[in-house]
């Protein structure tokens, strides 16, 4: 229960919550922290902050203070790879990446959590690459004092699937590249795919174990795939031959190599003719020619998820559609743009 007292009567009492000061463009933060004992010298500053009355709190058994609520919420929201400090600032607790990796947000549970009255949590987008120490979410209870039951219900929801936010570490893989196309294989043009794909792999902390070149020939492509797997590659990237021309036989080569699961087509532009296949647990990513022209394509959306251990299927490729249209800006600002941010 909250009791209001006049500021002049508050000298000697302890503040029940942080008091925020905002100096536009200069500062926003706690001018006074919870527990601070109000003294005569504070009165003028508190008045300047618009405080002519303060609260005294007498918590009933079924009530909870915002700071204690925030700690319960943070503990339940935090999944693997997330850390947080029980040191609420203005009632809010930040959830921070405990390691480099890929942020995963359970958007459905997050939505359910935020439907509970008087609690909130805001996060970065799911599938954002984050560095250790980065803030990925924050939570708080809205009122200063609230009933304990909704806080506990929201916490139960958040914990129902191992937490709402987690950071998955990226596995270090040995990638094998298969660059297809008669024009490259026979030396008519210089290959530019291998350097692009190699950079994307190494940027995410993995290695390229081998690069094979193959003509537009099913058997040849299939053999190159099998050789990479025999050499211990646990991720394969294939370029070229993904389109609709009669010479585009990469898909068939992948099937002949023994792929038991093939998903052709992604709801992303650039990258509609992207392919994901699996030979056992080894993923094969077929990169269409757009990967040469555009700095960022569907591969940049899918590759981190594959490295984080996610199995990509039809559903995952279809769900990329919302937010999957690149604006093709003259100056690309990815990942700080909406591209690929609409999926759950």
């Amino acid at each position: 229960m909250l009791k209001t007292i006049k500021l002049e009567d508050a000298v000697g009492t302890k503040l029940t919550h942080d008091i925020t000061e905002i100096r536009p463009g200069e500062f926003k933060g706690a001018a006074f922290r919870r527990g601070h004992t109000v003294c005569d010298d504070d009165l003028c500053r508190l008045q300047r902050l618009g405080k002519n009355h303060l609260y005294l709190i007498d918590l009933a058994e079924d009530e909870i203070h915002e700071n204690d609520a925030a700690a319960i919420l943070a503990a339940s929201l935090a999944g693997d790879g997330i850390t947080w400090e029980n040191n609420p600032r203005e009632g809010k607790i930040s959830l921070v990446a405990a390691r480099d990796g890929l942020l995963r947000v359970d958007a459905a549970v997050l939505a359910a959590f935020n439907m509970v009255a008087e609690v909130m949590c805001a996060t970065l987008h799911s599938h954002t690459l984050v560095k250790k120490g980065a803030q990925v979410a924050a939570t708080r209870a809205i009122p200063l004092v609230m009933k304990r039951a909704p806080v506990e219900r929201a916490a139960a929801m958040a914990a129902s699937n191992g937490g709402v936010v987690s950071v998955l570490p990226l596995q270090k893989v040995r990638a094998g590249l298969v660059i297809t196309g008669n024009e490259v294989y026979h030396g008519l043009i210089e290959d530019r795919f291998a350097p692009v794909l190699t950079a994307k792999i190494t940027d995410l902390g993995s290695d390229v174990a081998g690069i094979a070149f193959a003509p537009d020939d099913v058997e040849h492509i299939s053999r190159a795939i099998c050789n990479h797997i025999a050499d211990g590659c646990n991720l394969l990237l294939l370029s070229g031959g993904m389109s609709v021309d009669p010479d585009d036989v990469t898909r068939k080569g992948i099937r002949v190599a023994g792929a038991d699961e093939i998903h052709y087509g992604a709801a992303v532009l650039p990258g509609a003719m992207f392919l994901v296949a699996y030979i056992g647990d080894i993923p094969l990513l077929g990169v269409p020619a757009c990967g040469l022209h555009h700095r960022v394509t569907v591969l940049d959306l899918v590759l981190p998820r594959v490295l984080a251990g996610e199995r990509i299927g039809k559903k995952e490729l279809a769900f990329l559609g919302h937010g999957g249209l690149c604006k093709d800006c003259p100056e690309c600002s990815y990942p700080n743009c909406p591209f690929g941010k609409g999926t759950m």
Binding site: A107, A108, V109, A111, A112, M115, R153, A154, A156, M157, S160, N161, K315, A318, F319, M344
Partner: protein, 248 residues
Amino acid sequence: MQDFESLLKSSAAAHGHLCPGQVVGVRMAMLGCRLIGLDDPSSHEQIKKLIVYVEMDRCTADAVSHVTGVKLGRRSLKFVDYGIMAATFLNLETNRAYRVVSTEEARDLAAMFAPEIAGKHAQQLRAYQRMPDSVLFRVQEVDVNLAELDLPGPTRRKVACVRCGQVVRDGREVIRSGRVLCKPCSGECYYREAREVSWPDMNRTPACKSKIAGVKTTNHDTKILSENRRRDGLLNEYHKEISPCLKP
């Protein structure tokens, strides 16, 4: 108690179709029973310990009744017409009761929990199976004062209406100016202008419609049976005659 899938299947069969309300009802009943400590409510040992108040006459009510085994005629199922998707589960042994309320926000969240499914009905059907209890329900611990006259068991009181003579059971009579009335005579009634009528085939006796195994048919039974058949024939003839006239 059986597992969720089995209960949903049998509940849908008993109700007549599978629908989101069945999913909610089965889960509501499973949660309610768990909260009051009954793991097999329709078993012989537990069936007399449970009272369930359902606050809606919708699909969910049938599922709650099916899973728990509570029945109107056993007085273990109480219908309170609130129009709220909620049910209260009372353990008569411990006197603990929990009211389980289906959340309205679960409807809004269905698309989030089953995004790959198109169509509201199919989406809710799947989403309500995926949501944790904390999303699908709110729960309140409540005190329920169950009057002795509402308990299962034998009829505890019978009185006769002073106006029409109708016997009224279990304290459902109304006292007006010190006079005992049945509800229809008191005016608290869902129908009006009751008129006593006679009807065709007034002496039909179902026991004689067919021979009951092990029971010898008497001459009297046979006579009634043949009379029933004769009247059925007459009624059929009658319907044949008037049906064409009724067609537009």
